[in-house]
Symmetry: C2
Subunit: 300 residues, 2 copies
Amino acid sequence: MESLKEVQKQIYFYIKEIADEKSLELLKLLPNGKMLRSKLILKIAGINEASIKLCAVVEMIHAASLLHDDVIDDATTRRGQKTINALFDNKTSIMFGDILYSKAFTELTLMDKEVAYTISNAVTLLSVGELLDVELSKTFNTSYDRYLDMIYKKTASLIEASAKSAAILCGKNKDNFALYGKNLGLAFQMVDDILDITEESSKLGKPAMLDFVEGKVTIPYLLTYKSLAADEQIKLHSMYKKELSNEETIWLKEKFQTTNSIQESINLAQRFGREAIEAIQDENNLDLVVIMQAMIERDF
Amino acid sequence: MESLKEVQKQIYFYIKEIADEKSLELLKLLPNGKMLRSKLILKIAGINEASIKLCAVVEMIHAASLLHDDVIDDATTRRGQKTINALFDNKTSIMFGDILYSKAFTELTLMDKEVAYTISNAVTLLSVGELLDVELSKTFNTSYDRYLDMIYKKTASLIEASAKSAAILCGKNKDNFALYGKNLGLAFQMVDDILDITEESSKLGKPAMLDFVEGKVTIPYLLTYKSLAADEQIKLHSMYKKELSNEETIWLKEKFQTTNSIQESINLAQRFGREAIEAIQDENNLDLVVIMQAMIERDF
């Protein structure tokens, strides 16, 4: 997509503006990613100077959050590429994240006031979501509500804010697009949680079934736990935060099947997906339906 | 000062607003500090809702930068108190820093647009300054210009932006106050660099003469190095980034004396201090002269 290149040029221009060589060097080492948030903004607001700048700001914020995430999670690879903390050290990842965040916020203050508020408020939610994620990963969480609140803040809030801000830029119904973005974000995270289990390491670009080892009781685990008998719940609990043996992995995968939890998780993600589409049904924007479908109709 | 309590209340209110218990718990563990930036803002803009909110935002940004600093510098104490990374872990310090930053930026978007830009741009400079500080600490830096550029970005930029923003809020001459803040900030950092050498560990709340061990060639070291003969320069260089023996410490302190570098560093800080006062000589604000003097006429 030609316009995504424009977004990357804008990011490069912003970083060049701060006149620090090391920052430009680090920018080149960031993986490009799918730029989902930019695609969304451009499909809603069209391609123009304001929308390209908004995309650049949102991508910089997203990249900053991943830089800090990788330090917090001790991650050494992302999308099959070495992370900045692996290539350099934690310091560099923290500092470059701060540079991307603050430059993005600086540019936001030059934009529409409601857009600036909407995006920065989402970053506050995102930062709280990160903290909640770490807190929830300390003990085996069995609450769906706490899981949903966390993934809303950590993942959906910035997607919600991106869609809402794009609608503000072009004078469309901001509430409908916000709801679309929120549900899209929730579905997106659930799909991510499912792929951690169903996809192979080589495709994930990181070890498979890593979430549970890291203490993350994601939606398939939550649904499995609820369906198990008491003694099996204890067994699942005993496997929490551990490197699993082959035998344990086989038992776990069998339980995913017999409890139908993977399929139920997919159904749930698809329900959020449908709700996203319903929120914008009056907007006649087929592209947004396609974005949604591409995301939820995947090879699980 | 009663009004500083108002600032603390405002910070508490902002954090309460994000409805996350852990964040409130962490806020209580932050050391209060001298609140220099708030004192400055209140002396310029007076005490009113807008100035108290600006103070709260600036203090949250300052606290966030210290939280990330402590991770970057592996610091376990600050002002004699245990740091968040020492009490919990690096993760918590990074995440709580991100929460303070993003909430501060969110509140900024509700303020005067020029104030919002001025403060966020200073945070970009501050973040770049942090990176420059780490880069400069990798090899023995002998450039005064690079040192000055780094302390301007890392320390003076936020003080400059605070004074400028306060002037904007109350319709005073923003350029004069910006220049006051910038020079005050440079003097402030130089005083800090001098105290690292002249003050005892118990008063500093951290080990004395830590800067050089950490690779920071601050102004007294820069001036000493320039005044030494070639063979003594080599000796000073050999002591860089090392825990010094008693003998070495005695040699170093003697060189500070014979080269007059401590006194010259004090003179330089005082020159910036005078330039700060000159910048606002038409403003008839004696309080700001007092703030400046209290800072540079210290017990070295």
